[in-house]
């Protein structure tokens, strides 16, 4: 059972306090988008063995959505951060690079 720190209220929350929300940093495609772009938005998800960015909600706490950067293979957590950004913060990316040189995720590295 994972422990993640909620970046809003600072609580080290057990997984039972949290709700997983799948892949982070999705770009929404609406009316006017191509079938391919919309299909990608709706159905295609990363499934890496390694560095991953996810959405979580502190459902049984402050109720806030946030992002987590973690490794799916070792369960190491590189950090949690606001859900209200388009990309992972520089500080988190540096931290990942220090531990996992050469990591990539979608078009990030």
């Amino acid at each position: 059972m994972l422990i993640l720190e909620c970046p809003y209220c600072g609580v080290l929350a057990d997984e039972t306090e949290l709700t997983p929300g799948g892949e982070a940093h999705l770009k929404r495609f609406g009316p006017g988008s191509s079938d391919e772009a919309f299909h990608g938005y709706l159905f295609e998800r990363e499934n890496p063995r390694g560095v991953h960015f996810e959405r979580w909600r502190h459902s049984y706490g402050c109720g806030k959505w946030f992002h987590a950067a973690r490794a799916t293979d070792t369960l190491e957590v590189f950090g949690t951060y606001s859900a209200q950004v388009f990309d992972p913060p520089e500080e988190i990316r540096k931290k990942i690079t220090a531990k996992r040189p050469g990591w990539t995720w979608k078009d990030l590295s």
């Binding site: 059972m1 422990i3 609406g30 919309f38 109720g63 070792t74 369960l75 859900a83």
Partner: protein, 1006 residues
């Protein structure tokens, strides 16, 4: 025979006798016995039948690894199957029965399978039951259902109670042998909080049995050191000790489940039976020891063939000998401990067969000095016997099994080396290394299970870590304890591991098959997995048939499955598989170790969450009134809503019919408090609701209401309800009763993660209000009688709302209708809900008021053709399927689900669409029934063209009415469809308009 000795037995109290029954026969034992030791003391070696061939099976081991001695314990409400006799502490009055036999343990008809074993090879079931197809349902499955499974499922409700316990600790040490005790002490001395758990009732583990006279710790005998260190730990305030508490599983980030058996050994004691510990540990040390491996020789499954270490346990701990004449077979020095002990206990050891050409070290010399005969380079060709070992045939280990000699005996002690218990280490991703010298997998300390910070959070200590001498075990445990404490922020003092003297052993020789070149006929009688009847030939066949992955071989042969999960069989099995594949053992690898370590009770997993406290129930302010007035309730989300108010002399159906009719003709009131009520407020609230709902909410005027639909991003209808605009920047959204929290979550998700710059707040005020629907032709009259605000059609028109007072209650009145009648939904403060309900009931007497429940609500909405989320929708239905195009904005550029509703499948004209259905004979269509068309589909099933989504008897129309989704439905008005029922009846219904009652909507708009 097996019997109680007059000496040894350090764990039993010989001064007290305990009586128990096995298969109905009374037997005697002593406090401190396990069921297994007591059975052996009563010469009951035969304890069960094997799974597939029903071969006689005896006790093999003395601990958690036991594959055979599984029994049914208790009766009625305390009955439990598959209990291991070796870990079941005996108590007075215990009733145990053996499993998997018919008609009796001694004579079992299924044992004929053993003679059929040549035609029941690995994968037999998969191969046999494919053809002919029809046989599966009518012949094979009934037969398998009857014969499959070990033990029986309990029939009665469990009479015991269980609990969960939450614990936080710096260091958790699993295993209370000498390694665990030392690790706990070394950690605790730094001041770290330590929790030490041990699965048995006793501290010290194998060291208490196996320590030799020459071995000492700090100059003292090993058992003295164990007593001393246990006493020290029990005095330390930062240490918690628990026996009968097993580490069941290790999970992410230091989460551990432990399983404490509080009174399995003393069932009369009050309190919970099991306690599930939910532990968060900074660091975990698994000092779980090692398990001895069996040897693979023909007939190794006969009762009387046991692990050498188990024979020692029975003698030393319980004063029980498993046999009078024991032949020893080994590939390492440990088995000599058994030989020496048996000799000292006055028992015969006619032969020690050491597969190593050079034999063993100091212990062999000691055995020989006692006059025991050791044959080196020798092996067991075959064990002979029926329900018990009678003799052993001896051959050369290097040969094919040519018999050189025969020795009569009634027990065989086998030792194939030791496997560290790495299960817990592996549960959360710890990797293993193959240790060539000891022929075992041990933890790869460079690849531990990792915690949130990337550091390993589990360490193994002692034999579990591959330390094989007393001195190495204590050093390893001391280091592990100190390192764990340091990792949790405690500074270790400069203390040293205790000084121990150890005896050295001659190296083990890996022996995976005995003899090395055993012929087919021997291999076909050489068991790897005793519980699941897997033999050497089965694994070889699996490899030959291409099941090269160890995980595939496991599933094909059932090697290592079921309750013991291959604690004895796995390493031997994968060695045979590796040999068959011509690759080294580490290239084959192990199957995945999964929690729990041994089975834990379902009761412990459930804990207190059963019966009334299984799930909290939400109650409206009028909940108790409903219960006191005949309401039969039904679950709706976490609520319990009145289904109908049943009067004396009525059944539920009568009550529902009466409630519908009375509401349509006079006056009904409904507790609608469960409806979700979400306040959406802010300068961007209108824009936000336009994205959430398919229609336009921003154009709604304050004081007005509008019915709205919500879809998910993939276009499917997910919720509906009436939205009221309260003021310029405030809306109140009604959701379905079960959907309030979910929809609140959806709103928060979009606001927080997509449109976070929009100025909108959402508050869930569902429980702040009691809401009552006042429905029927007399609705206005009762409100006017109570008096207060003007509820006339002129002032408060259909789909309007107003604040005011009625009968002195502050209220908000919505003129909305889910029944088609004149209807007011009135919200008052939750605290005043019951009083307002009482006022309506009192004032309504003159107008024929009756409360109505959810079923009447459903019928009235169906008569009107209103859809219900969860009936007409199922996660694959879009609003367009339900003829709700009028509620979908054509003008809006975007709303959730709009893009998805443009996908090719969504605009396919062949989608099933909503229709009304009316049976020809007035009967009620079965819910969920399918409409069939001529012909068959590709799977040989009838072609289906529609299905029933809601179906009721309408008292208003006095006939069966239904709604359904039908292929090209609206275009087939008037057509008669066939609905074959599961009762054999062929129902016929005509496609009609889904609006059965008052299609012009005149009644609700008066």
């Amino acid at each position: 025979m097996s019997t109680r000795l007059s000496t040894f037995g350090r764990l039993i109290d010989r001064s007290v006798q305990v009586k128990f029954t096995f298969n109905g026969t009374w037997m005697r034992g002593h406090p401190g016995d396990t069921l297994a030791s007591a059975l052996l003391a009563n010469d009951q070696m035969l304890v069960g039948r094997s799974f597939k061939y029903h071969r006689p099976r005896g006790i093999v081991a003395s601990g958690a690894e036991e594959p055979n001695a599984l029994v049914n314990l208790g009766k009625g409400p305390t009955f439990e199957p598959n209990q291991r006799a070796t870990t079941t502490e005996l108590y007075d009055g215990m009733t145990a029965t053996s499993q998997n036999h018919w008609p009796s343990l001694d004579f079992d008809i299924g044992a004929i399978n053993t003679h059929l074993s040549r035609v029941l090879p690995a994968g037999f079931y998969y191969k046999m039951f494919m053809y002919p197809r029809a046989f599966w349902k009518h012949v094979y499955e009934p037969f398998i259902r009857q014969s499959a499974g070990l033990g029986q499922a309990p029939k009665d409700r469990d009479a015991d109670t269980y609990e969960h316990f939450y614990a936080f600790t710096d260091v958790l040490v699993i295993g209370g042998g000498i390694a665990g005790l030392q690790a706990a002490k070394s950690a605790a001395e730094t001041g770290a909080r330590v929790l030490l758990i041990e699965q048995t009732a006793h501290w010290g583990g194998r060291a208490m049995v196996d320590a030799q006279d020459a071995e000492t710790v700090n100059g003292a005998p090993v058992d003295k050191y164990v007593d001393e260190i246990t006493a020290q730990l029990s005095q330390m305030p930062n240490v918690t000790l628990r026996t009968r508490c097993m580490g069941a599983g290790i999970y992410d980030h230091g989460y551990v489940l432990a399983y404490e058996r509080l009174r399995d050994h003393a069932p009369e004691t009050p309190g919970p039976r099991h306690r599930l510990w939910r532990v968060r540990a900074g660091r975990v040390i698994t000092a779980t020891g090692a398990i001895e491996r069996p040897l693979s020789f023909a007939g190794n499954d006969l009762p009387g063939v046991m692990l050498a270490s188990a024979l020692r346990d029975y003698v030393v701990n319980y004063g029980v000998s498993a046999g009078d004449r024991t032949v020893i077979a080994t590939n390492n020095d440990d088995a000599y401990l058994t030989a020496i002990l048996l000799k000292k206990a006055g028992l015969e050891v006619p032969r020690i067969l050491d597969a190593r050409p050079q034999g063993g070290g100091a212990l062999m010399a000691e055995a020989q000095a006692l006059g025991l005969r050791v044959d080196t380079g020798r092996a067991i060709a075959k064990v002979k016997g029926g329900r018990r070992v009678s003799k052993v045939q001896i051959c050369a280990q290097a040969g094919e099994g040519g018999v050189l000699d025969e020795v009569a005996c009634d027990a065989v002690a086998m030792s194939g080396g030791w496997s560290p218990v790495v299960h817990l280490w592996s549960h959360c991703g710890g990797k293993l290394l193959w240790d060539e010298g000891h022929a075992m997998f041990r933890p790869d300390v460079d690849n531990p299970p990792r915690s949130h910070d990337g550091a390993g959070f589990v360490a193994c200590a002692g034999m579990a870590n591959g330390a094989m001498t007393l001195d190495a075990v204590l050093h390893d445990a001391h280091d592990a304890g100190q390192a764990a404490a340091e990792a949790t922020g405690h500074s270790p003092k400069r203390s040293k591991a205790p000084a121990a003297t150890s005896c050295t052993a001659a190296p083990l020789a890996p022996v995976w098959l005995m003899p090395q070149g055993a012929k087919q006929e021997l291999r076909a009688k050489t068991w790897l997995d005793f519980q699941n009847d897997v033999k050497v030939t089965d694994v070889q066949l699996a490899a030959q048939e291409g099941f090269e992955s160890v995980e595939h071989t496991k599933r094909y042969t059932t090697l290592g499955m079921a309750t013991d999960q291959g604690k004895l069989s796995n390493i031997n099995g994968l060695a045979i598989l590796s040999d068959a594949l011509g690759q080294p053992i580490p290239a084959t690898g192990t199957t995945t170790f999964r929690p729990p370590y041994t089975p834990i009770s379902m009761g412990a997993i459930g804990g207190e969450a059963r019966g009334d406290v299984f799930q909290p129930i939400r109650r409206t302010p009028m909940h108790d009134w409903h219960a006191a007035n005949g309401a039969q309730s039904e679950p709706v989300g976490h609520w319990r809503r009145p289904y109908a108010y049943v009067r004396q002399g009525e059944d539920a159906h009568d009550a529902v019919m009466r409630e519908v009719t009375n509401t349509r003709t006079h006056l009904g009131i409904l507790d609608a408090s469960t409806l979700g009520k979400l306040i959406v407020k802010g300068s961007d609230a209108g824009r936000f609701l336009d994205m959430l709902y398919t229609n336009v909410m921003s154009s709604l005027k304050p004081g007005r209401c509008r019915y709205g639909l919500m879809c998910s991003e993939n276009g499917f209808l997910s919720d509906d309800g009436v939205v009221a605009r309260i003021d310029e920047d405030t809306w109140l959204c009604h959701t379905t009763s079960g959907g309030a929290d979910r929809i609140h979550g959806v709103m928060e998700e979009w606001l927080q993660t997509e449109w976070w710059d929009w100025k909108v707040y959402v508050a869930n005020v569902t429980e702040q209000y009691a809401q009552i629907a006042v429905v029927g032709p007399n609705a206005r009259k009762v409100l006017e009688k109570l008096g207060g605000m003007d509820v006339s059609a002129g002032t408060l028109s259909f789909m309007g709302w107003a604040d005011g007072t009625i009968g002195g209650f502050d209220c908000r009145v919505y003129r909305i209708s889910f029944s088609g009648e004149l209807s007011y939904e009135i919200a008052v403060r939750a605290s005043e809900g019951q009083a307002f309900w009482d006022a309506l009931m009192a004032a309504g007497q003159a107008f024929g008021v009756m409360p109505y429940g959810t079923e009447a609500l459903h019928i009235m909405r169906a008569e009107k053709g209103f859809i219900m989320i969860g009936d007409e929708t199922d996660g694959t239905v879009i609003p367009q399927d339900l003829g709700l195009d009028w509620a979908i904005s054509k003008k809006k550029e975007d709303y959730l689900g709009k893009r998805a509703q443009q996908r090719s499948h969504m605009i396919d004209p062949n989608r099933w669409k909503l229709v009304g259905l009316e049976t020809i004979d007035g009967s009620v269509l079965p819910d969920g029934a399918y409409a069939v068309a001529p012909g068959m589909n590709a799977n040989g099933q009838r072609n289906m063209i529609g299905r029933v989504t809601s179906t009721y008897h309408s008292p208003t129309l006095n006939k069966g009415i239904a709604m359904g989704l039908v292929h090209n439905g609206p275009g087939r008005r008037g057509e008669i469809l066939e609905f074959p029922g599961t009762d054999g009846t062929n129902y016929k219904a005509r496609i009609v308009s889904p609006v059965f009652y008052d299609p012009e909507g005149e009644k609700q708009n008066v």
